[in-house]
Symmetry: C2
Subunit: 517 residues, 2 copies
């Protein structure tokens, strides 16, 4: 029954690649549409941002996906639009039977989505989502599911790296002007899940219950100067308007020759009036060198607690480099690098929200099993290399912790397996013959990672707040080996198969029919 709600054509159920619809019509005609099927979404390779590849990802986007699944109720307008499409001989591409079926797909009936909770640390070749349900319906979900998970997971991952490089200092997302159109809303949310401390994206911050961040641009100083006044007049006006939140941008005219002395003048006036200045921002030049000079002069003027925010094409490597330069260079100017580094904050923009160096996550959605007679028949795509081959079958995902409580491997099993370390746990390499055997004493815990997120036509999990998502991410990161968190050349985290799953994969790859029959 189509919903009468008017959704823009490009945001609802038709926010999808056409081939999901043509395949669904085929399944309907062939009587296969209701056959239970399982698909897995996963990515194959941690993103490499250009000589610095991530050691893990942070899952994000699930809540937006579930919200879309709730909203994407086929409307009359959408079905009518599809009815206008013609094939090459002028015949209708989609027939009434298919449009009738599609109109009944509100709530994705019969579909169950299981996924790691949003914000969890995730690894290559493990499910970002397992989708089970009628073949045509789960096929229909593919594009929107990938679109909602791939980009946010990429950005949450990038954000946590940047926050890590900043050694816990405040980091803010300023990227919406160059991010990808309306996609920046998902990007800003993902950046916050990844651990950033705020975003300039006002509407999205307010929608998420966060405080948006920002002060002023160069244009404000330029406007005062074009009006015949001076930089210091612009600073005074900012201090008048926001006396308790005064953060001044120093580099419109000349950072050290004009911006800094003018800021100190205005900060002194503020202090005499009983207000404490908040900070300065540097947006061009040698940020490390300038930060040292600015810190020294602020200290001399008695503003030891005024923050210094750096911005301009920053990412994890530029921040790392700035901090190293400060450690080397600050002592030469009589500045103690420790307190200077502790007063820094960062605005990151373009390179975060467009994920410069790796603007996409290679997430895919693969059929892994189809119900046949009385059980799940595994599916495999045999033309792929062994390394690329989908691990077949209906599966479960577990995280194995060592005796210290640190994550030591993610373990894929068949869906009906309950892994146990009694007397020992065998972890198979996914593509080679190697394996590890962990004695019971080395296993601190085995945690199932997949939770039901969607079932029976609606969400099975609430909409988590950002604090929950950040806490999940932080807890997982604390249980990662420091080597896996390295920014460059991280230690490879093990993703293993159970013995039974490994055997099944070998059998399927050896079977010329490729269907386990």
């Amino acid at each position: 029954m189509p919903s009468p709600t008017p959704t823009p054509l490009n945001e609802g159920i038709l926010f999808t690649d056409l081939y999901e619809l043509t395949m669904a019509q085929l399944y309907l005609r062939e009587g296969m549409h209701a056959t239970p099927a399982q698909f897995e979404a996963f990515y194959r390779i941690n993103p490499d941002f250009g000589g610095h590849q991530a050691g893990y990802c942070v899952s994000a986007g699930l809540d937006d996906l579930l919200a879309w699944m709730e909203r994407a109720r086929p409307s009359r307008a959408e079905l009518e639009a599809l009815a206008t499409l013609k094939g090459s001989r002028g015949q209708r591409l989609f027939d009434d039977a298919f449009l009738g079926w599609l109109g009944d797909q509100a709530g994705f009936p019969g579909v169950t989505v299981r996924a790691p909770a949003e914000g969890r640390v995730v690894h290559p070749h493990t499910p970002l989502a397992v989708v089970e349900g009628p073949l045509a319906t789960v096929q229909l979900l593919e594009t929107a599911l990938l679109n909602h998970l791939n980009y946010p997971t990429l950005i949450a991952t990038r954000a946590t790296r940047i926050k890590f490089a900043a050694r816990g200092a405040p980091v803010f997302d300023f990227g919406m002007r160059r991010g990808h159109a309306r996609g920046v809303n998902a990007g800003s949310r993902a950046a916050l899940i990844g651990g950033l401390d705020g975003t300039s994206n006002t509407g999205q911050a307010l929608a998420l219950g966060e405080t948006p961040r920002g002060t002023h641009a160069h244009s404000m100083v330029q406007a005062f100067m074009a009006a015949g006044m001076e930089e210091v007049d612009a600073f005074r006006a900012y201090a008048r308007t926001f006396p308790d939140d005064c953060l001044l941008l120093l580099d419109t005219v000349d950072t050290l020759g004009s911006g800094l002395p003018n800021a100190i003048t205005v900060f002194e006036e503020l202090r005499r009036a009983g207000h404490e200045p908040r900070g300065v921002r540097l947006d061009s030049g040698d940020l490390a060198h300038l930060a040292i000079q600015v810190a020294r002069e602020l200290d001399r003027a008695g503003f030891t607690r005024v923050g210094i925010t750096l911005s301009n094409q920053l990412d994890e490597l530029t921040i790392w480099q700035i901090l190293q330069q400060i450690e080397l260079e600050a002592p030469r100017y009589g500045v103690d690098p420790g307190p200077l580094i502790a007063r820094l904050g960062y605005g990151v923009g373009t390179r975060l929200l467009t994920s410069h160096g790796a603007p996409s996550l290679d997430g895919v959605y693969k059929l892994v099993a189809l119900w046949r007679d009385d059980g799940w028949a595994p599916a495999i795509k045999r033309s792929d290399s062994l390394a690329k081959a989908t691990t077949p079958g209906a599966k479960q995902l577990y995280r194995v912790y060592d005796a210290r409580g640190m994550a030591t491997a993610d373990l894929l099993t068949l869906v009906d397996e309950v892994p146990s370390a009694d007397p020992s746990l065998r972890l198979r390499h996914p593509t080679e013959r190697a394996h590890r055997t962990l004695p019971a004493s080395a296993v601190g815990g085995i945690e199932p990672l997949l939770e039901v997120a969607w079932r029976a036509g609606g969400r099975a999990v609430g909409s988590p707040d950002l604090a929950t998502l950040r806490a999940r991410r932080a807890a997982d990161e604390e249980r990662l080996d420091p080597g896996v968190r390295r920014l460059i050349n991280p230690h490879i985290y093990h993703v293993s198969l159970s013995e039974r799953l490994w055997q099944l994969k070998q059998e399927l790859l050896a079977d010329p029919d490729g269907n386990g029959a």
Copy 2:
């Protein structure tokens, strides 16, 4: 007067960086909010996708920007959300006077936007938009304007390069699964402006009056095999469902050993039943080599007109390389490369919609002039290098054509200048002392490029259809020197200043106050 319309907080007037609002409040408090001001949006550098930099860009996004400006009418909910924001001492960040002012900004009163028509070829340092109006109101537009123009311009530019590399063959956008969340809708539209022939993005295609494109995925073949059938059964089912639009994906099992012979079997069956098969698709392996083998076998079977679509991480360089390999390799297999190349089509995805190699355009929005007493006072940001310095003042933009009708330079002038080639036209280099002088005989025309797009609270231009946008782009590209269209190391197109504008810039850069006073 706030509008009662409920817009999501993150899509309306608050789709902006916070600092636009803090600066607007400052201007209001200081009584500067109504001072007429001019901002220019422009980009500084043509995008470099990694050893291959564009020689020009294709402007896109203006229509979406104007649609946003129409929709972004401040609502009570938005003003109430801003009223909840607190400063560091718990005081309200935005006062009632400001919220009252903001509530009156529906339609961006007093603002005029002039821009090159969407789809036009544009160059660095020339306006993507000139925005004139009350200082606080034009400041308020900054983030949304940049967001709506930067990404689509980047993608239209990338799309035209890919279409150029494909030598006019059909190219389709399949990128929505890995593009940046909802930003893919803007990306797919921009790809079509840039000359692509279709998109798989069903909703956006329908919203734009286009036919969405797509056939089937590997999963369809896998589903038939997991159900105990064969690849050929999946192909037959596709042919039954879409007998006049049958395009089969060959590489689920083994492209040459299984997919191709099975497709030929089904194509023969189709032809016997009176239908003409449409094509095959190759999505993995050595696409050039496979295309040759597939063409040879299709020809032998009598299917000389069946198309061959290639996909898998394609962009302009991979397509270029594939075509060169075909030209070298096809004759060895007795295949004529010309007809083979003529039957190819391409699906481009991730690398197009995420603009792999250069995921952002460096578009900025700079104050260029402020009304003072009885004239425009130019604004300049002096801390920049000469090369980076904003060209000051209220300006016009012209395109100068040579005697052949080819574009030879874009010319920035003061707003009140009407350039003339009688007796000759002097074109100043923007940053150096060099100049060119064109005699009247060398000038075929001087075309003003900026058109009024928004005035008096609403659009001044209609919403153009895609055919119009593509025709504009194509006409401009035909008037570009072939050297400027080269994919690698293009000839640098001249962007020049008029003599008067050049003199003004020199005076301002020499003036220690930097305000022309």
